[in-house]
Amino acid sequence: MNHQDVAELLPWYVNGTLAPHERAQVEAELASCPLCAGELAELQRIHAAMHEIDQDAPGPSESLMARTSARIDAQPARVGAAFSVKDWWNSLTAAGKITVLVPAALAAVLVVIAVRQSALHQVALSTYTTPAGVAGKTLDERTQSTDQVAQAPAPPQAGAPLPITSGAVARSASVNEAAAPATSQLQATNVLKRVPLPSGERPQLIRTGTIDLLVPDVEQTLAQLQSLAQLQFGDVISLDDSTPSTPGVRHTAQVQLAVPADRFDQTMQALVKLGAVQSRNISAENVSDQIVDAQARLRNLRRTETDMLRILDRAGKIPDVLDVTQQIAQVREQIEQLDAQVQSLQHRVAYSTISIAIEDEKPVTSAQPGMGAQLDDAWKAAVRELRNYTVRVAAVMLTIIAFAPYWLGVLLIALFIANRLRRPSGA
């Protein structure tokens, strides 16, 4: 231990809180070092003086205790302050404990069933229905933007905070512009901001998925896709919907979704349920090396830039200054390029893109479908709804059956207690 180390320990040697081995080291140094001895004397004087100052200093006013008590009284009752769960439990009789346990177990089973139900409902919601609010909003936005299109060509939306969030997406009716609705725009809501980028620990994968679906109703599926995207904290980043007016041609649409990487699988699973899958493809590109490499180069370049700025401070002659400035500009440009590259990669890792091609099951018959076709559609829709409902009911029943050991047990205990309680009163 050198003089400095010992000098740093001296304050605690003075107040007597050093560990024995430190105390021994300090004492050894004190015996041989007059500087340390001087420091010690000074600290001892400070110690004594501060103690005296402390003794002489006035305390808080006498009423502080009373005022604090009043503040405590004003506090809401403390949870668990005067109440101990352990003491309370020990105070219960055996019968009392059962009367507490049985409803508690029952409640637990009900909670589990409720959670399962809500999960089932969630899947059903994301697959089969569109929340009214979402559909309404989309419709309003469509109408709004149609007006804009009538006046002038739609300008590209600027200032989107993430590169993949294109501000607006075009939805075009390509075949017959006069009969079909005009080009409209959908404002991509900016829900992507909510999810942070994943950490650099895991392999950095850019995941993309494509899926081709045959669906009963393209319009309905589009609405479902939008609500699905919102449910998964993602967004619709492009939508191309072609409504044909000529009979015999099928209604098709192309949609691209961006969803947080950790919700990619969930989203793909939900998509499969939207219709008959024609083809499906998932691919992943590992860009860990690219990111690490670019980051390392970025660090080096930043260091170079700092060094050059330092040189610039020192450079005296104008040609030298110009030369260094030019080189700094080059380095800066490289830094910006690399930075953009890293950010773009990280965003692509954080958000997976899913391309969905939707095609109607049946071709468009005519602008005004006949009564037979309408009745046929209604019948098909009713059958489909019945099938869905049956599946849901069956799922709920299966859940109840699966949990039978729990609720049967609870029921038996409850019956047993009811019997026990009835017997004495009858006697």
Binding site: P11, I46, M50
Partner: protein, 192 residues
């Protein structure tokens, strides 16, 4: 801490445990044991008697509210002083302007009007009291904890929330700062 030898520390732990169960008498004992120490520690940092008193009340209210959360991993005193330090830093941060006029500070005790100054007959002690007023709250806190409250390095580190090595260098620099203040005022170097 000097005021809390192991028997005292045990007693304080017991009071705190009873406080956690809502025992007002135990809380009162704890309050009496700490109010002066806390007040003087806080006064050293915030320098305004009224604010220091208010903060002392706040700290003890926190102790009442959170007594059940004390897990006994440190001494009761370390825990309470930790709360006090946190409160003081918070109050200093909120107070605008953060800068304290040095002239004004040194003028207060010199005027001899305050009870503190009157009580201090010894001029050396007064010189130190004046110099302490000029220190930053960080430096003042570590000196108070070391010399007035007798805390170990580890306890101070826990109270002010920094590594032990930082505590050591802070005390070292606080002492150097004191020396500089004495020299500037023309007081003998080895004062007090």
């Amino acid at each position: 801490m000097h005021a809390a030898n192991s028997a005292d520390a045990q007693l304080e732990s017991e009071w705190l445990r009873q406080t956690a169960h809502g025992d007002r008498a135990a809380f009162e004992r704890l309050f009496r044991a700490y109010e002066h120490r806390l007040y003087r520690f806080l006064l050293g940092l915030v320098r305004e008697p009224q604010v220091a008193e208010e903060l002392t009340g706040d700290v003890m209210l926190e102790v009442w509210k959170n007594a059940a959360r004390f897990r006994g991993q440190s001494k009761v005193s370390t825990w309470i002083f930790g709360i006090a330090h946190h409160k003081a830093v918070d109050a200093l941060r909120r107070r605008a302007p953060a800068h304290v006029d040095l002239e004004e500070l040194s003028a207060v005790p010199d005027a001899g009007a305050g009870p503190e100054a009157q009580a201090m007959a010894d001029s050396a002690r007064r010189a130190l009291a004046d110099a302490l007023l000029e220190l930053t709250p960080e430096h003042r806190a570590v000196l108070e904890l070391t010399f007035t409250n007798g805390c170990s390095q580890a306890e101070i580190a826990a109270i002010v929330g920094c590594p032990v090595n930082t505590v050591k260098t802070r005390v070292f620099y606080a002492k150097q700062q004191l020396r500089r203040i004495f020299e500037r005022r023309g007081v003998r170097r080895d004062l007090p």
